[in-house]
Point group: D2
Chain length 370, copies 4
């Protein structure tokens, strides 16, 4: 099965290359009646816009999303509502300099998908990374904004933030200050040191990785054992983001060195007395906050000489200049939120059918249905 569709009941199919005519997403399965305007989606897209921080390149991407289908404004209604039919979102590509990619047409850039795409397909659109470009994630963010509208109705809330960048970590989780710095960091002081680190490696023509944490308010009962466990699905969703090389839930890799008595979260009548589980037990949400962390690798496009081969398998050296980000952070932060939202929207709908049947059984037992 081809791999450009995500989700089973809330389904997103994305398409588009970095330097093609447009990129886009089709959302199939959003329930009808959910308020949705282009502006709502646009707001989320603005959050991943480059040029906002020291870590990002100056490329201008207006990224204006257009809704092509799936919404309708009934008489007397303030704005459009979803109709239950597929929602097609298109973002036309502008300001893309295809010419500047001619020199890498036949060269496999280290750390990029050039070589593996060639191996798989025998043909590739080399311009700006083609389908493998991070630009593809704009479609995810747009789709995630649709999911957010649905999740709002069910009081499900998702927030992502930077907890490490270039080796600088923070244990502070003051979520109120995330919007105050350009790195979506819940610790303004750490953010300042991260910016210094960015300036430093920029001068060296190098790039940085980091760690993003995602937290979600989520009702209990989401997740479908034994293979579509909520943590498994979240791991897949997050690992499908290009730069992500690791995912952990709750205590994650720290749990590996704990004893059971340390790691188990005791339970009291008012809830769990700890959250090493990260809100998920046996693959099903338990009502606590979902907590995930992802390892983001440094951007592979560095302004330094690198050893590689061309399509004739001859050794060559390349230096990738041009307008490139220093780190996938902060741009990846809204992408992480989007992928978690898409996963939760899907699992919410998957659980609702069960809920509805359970309610009906209870009503029948109580004699309310007859």
């Amino acid at each position: 099965m081809p791999g450009n569709t995500f989700g089973t009941l809330f389904r997103v199919t994305t398409w588009g290359e970095s330097h093609g005519r447009a990129i886009g997403a089709v959302i199939d399965g959003c329930p009808p009646g959910v308020p949705l305007t282009a502006e709502m989606i646009q707001q989320e897209l603005e959050r991943r816009r480059p040029g906002k921080g020291g870590a990002t390149s100056p490329r201008k991407e207006p990224d204006r999303v257009e809704i092509m289908s799936g919404v309708f404004r009934p008489e007397g209604c303030e704005h459009e509502l979803t109709t239950g039919t597929p929602i097609s979102l298109v973002i036309f590509n502008r300001d893309a300099h295809s010419r500047s990619y001619d020199h890498i047409r036949d060269v496999f850039r280290p750390g990029h998908g050039d070589l593996s795409y060639q191996a798989k397909y025998g043909i590739r659109d080399h311009r700006g990374g083609g389908r493998a470009s991070a630009r593809e994630t704009a479609a995810r963010v747009a789709a995630g904004a649709v999911a957010a509208q649905l999740l709002n109705l069910h009081a499900i809330d998702v927030v992502a933030y930077t907890v490490a960048l270039g080796g600088i970590e923070t244990d502070k989780r003051d979520l109120r200050v995330i919007g105050e710095n350009r790195l979506f960091c819940p610790d303004n002081e750490a953010a300042a040191r991260m910016e210094e680190r960015i300036a430093q490696v920029r001068a060296q023509g190098d790039t940085l990785g980091g760690i993003v944490e995602i937290r979600a308010v989520c009702p209990p009962g989401l997740g479908e054992p034994v293979f579509d466990k909520l943590d498994a699905e979240l791991a897949r969703a997050l690992m499908s983001i290009g730069a992500v090389k690791g995912v952990e839930i709750g205590a994650g890799f720290r749990a590996a060195a704990m004893t059971g008595s340390e790691n188990n979260d005791p339970i009291s009548p008012s809830g769990f007395m700890g959250n090493n589980a990260g809100g998920i037990l046996a693959g099903i949400s338990n009502g606590e906050h979902l907590v995930m962390r992802v390892a983001v690798k440094p951007i592979p496009s560095i302004n330094r000489e690198q050893q590689t081969v061309n399509s004739a398998n001859e050794p060559v050296t390349i230096r990738i200049g041009g307008r490139h980000d220093i780190s996938a952070i902060p741009r990846i932060v809204p992408v992480c939120e989007a992928m978690v939202r898409l996963t939760l929207a899907d699992h919410l709908l998957r659980q609702l059918a069960i809920v509805e049947t359970r309610n009906r059984l209870l009503r029948q037992r109580d004699g309310r249905d007859g």
Copy 2:
């Protein structure tokens, strides 16, 4: 969509509760003509058998697998071959003492899925964890053994081993000695220290976690961007194992603190000059070894008093005695192998359709088809 099926072309559906009549798996999509006997599967099951090491409980699980369908021995053929129809595997449950679980029928054990299953379904088979029991993984191992037979034909090889247990880590990767110790550890000396640690916490009624690494020989071209990337699918596969709380590929979380120049794997005419990528670029295998690591949490069934609630949400304390493992390691090691094999078998078949069309196009260009 319910969650008990894994894979799209090589599809496995598992079923069964810990203390029900049986557990099993149906494999749909295994190509015809692959040699397969119950003995081949049995061999893999033996590897996850308890009672083999200090970390495991003495419960006897003969775990005899039976092949109910999908194989046939043609005249003159040495053994059964797959026929392309569904392969049904059944393992009957024996030696299961349902009685011993009566005391936890109405209690939610910390660290287990009792509470989340109840929240989701409103009903659960509490005996031995029911569907959430680690026993379910026997069906995965059995299915993985079928995948192994297919992968053999394509020279794809998977091996997993223990690199940390109870806080004791090793950097040694002497894969030849994995079979020499009971923990599947590629470092006999570290394995000895791990066994000491196990003895220590056993005396304390406590349990341990650890880290398993999986390595695979894999051809380039597997993985389906942008959502079914090979790393995304492997992450989902591994995170769907009950005790796993984290997954990383290649350099994983270490990559977060690297610079681009450190993390990028240079390429030479004879191959990659490093494997921080863990064999996957842009979600597609690049021909290098796949390398993954998973964080395994300590087993939640500890022989110590724990605070929790019952189904009436009243506070209670429990102590879980009985025959329990100290660590999911080493039993989880063959399970990790199985999940990686199932993922690779699926993606192999997904890639073959592309390969076949590419070959045809090449033949037509060369005029060989006419």
Copy 3:
């Protein structure tokens, strides 16, 4: 994707060959709390049992179904309930004489799947048709009985009956008499003539086809345009039964010769004033009875000499003796019901997620949720 799974939310995977150890089905996605015992399933299986009528062979098939997983009897509950986990059903094969199939091992029987299976897989279990045997439908009937339990809760009712056999048709639809004759015919007089026809062709070593009509009480709103329309899904479900060569909904092929003014069903405040649509408009149920008809081909195993080839593509003649039915009717009648039930159970669950979200939106608009 392999083809032995049916449905997306209510999913059935069947397995097994006619003369293998067993056949079975795994139902994944049945909501929890639904009453289910082996007896409930057994009742449905009895209806397709051979030896009950003149059209069927004397082969004894006790067809005892066993529930291997997915049900649990809570304390104080009268019988087992589904738990939301996979329900595994197994029917062991007995009374199967593999020997009697040796003579057709290398011969492709006309009208059977012998040749096409060989072409596809390069290997096949020839005994009794292997996977292509009508015996496979016993697993469908068993799974359909589980669906029936769920549909009961939602007042969805399905009934199938014979309206033509061997060229003898009836326009009568007295559903009360279906159980009074061995052919599930809503016209006892026509049934008698059909039995005569059966006796006649039996003497000639020949076989007969017929037409089965299926009728269902179904709420409006089921079906997922534009590809998973309810009529499209029902057509697939019914056409997947071996002997079925045609499916029509409502007026079906008669509609092809009507004018729009004849075919359109006018609507009054109390409902539709006709049902040429067969209960489905634009792929969505409209609240009227669903009405479908399927064309059933004559059974290909005839006791007459037939011209064919063997696996070396040499011309041979065969005569298929032994215990064979004269017509797929009446055995196919419960199979048609099962396939319609499985389709409706699946689409019911698919619709419930939408219903639940709509209800929530309405409550929020009314201020009931806050």
Copy 4:
């Protein structure tokens, strides 16, 4: 699962409403290297263009398709090739008079999906039928043109034609004359009579149905028993077209009145000696021509007074004037071809993975792989 995606390996997702901004399709899974230009797709779209025949309305639909992604022209290559990434096709809507639909905003037109869409979703875009409009099929035809490019490589050919319209049937199958009349009829004389019938009912403000036959050259081995049999999948594909109320394969409903000895196709060393099976045995293509027929209902929009209800369930009468076709034929003919092509492209890819593994096994047995 939402229903706007068709296929598993060759997957098409369509979107768009009749009077929204655009309609479109995303094709995911087309293998790389297949020649594809907008012109190739445009040619197919022209075939379903209205204004070409007496049965169709004068509405102008330029229907210019644009390829937004998934193709790339390598250096030195004559035209674009597919890259293996999603192919996004967009057709912008023009010449759509939304105003003319105001009067039916609150009225449920008989024979249309107005009532059932409202029942399902609680909201609908009423303009021109919204998502339920036949205009949606333009996206199918566009996607089918992509499938045709792939099928060409494998010598799979599909043609549809009209065999009945308004009660006038023909037994002639002179496929050479299909392009000579406006109804795609393989019998020019019958076509002339059909045109007369059209003129007649047009004067009466009424509409007509008919029967379309589809024939395909197809290799043996396609189809995935037991649920995704080729006939089952073709039935679903064809029944998912709005106006289709019946599907039959080979002898179809005629088989119901045949005996086995009449219906069985004998086999000779040079092939089948008949094709009552319609090219499919046990759900797998047998190498003969695939032959299907679909019943097309008369267009429900008639220029005559009809009885119905409004959204307040009050009785009203409506007369639907305006530019409407008299029959879904001939426009539906290329749509039938498209749906069969999409089904065959999908099953071709599904079979290729099996083929490739079988080839490998044969090579290994012959010692060619080692």
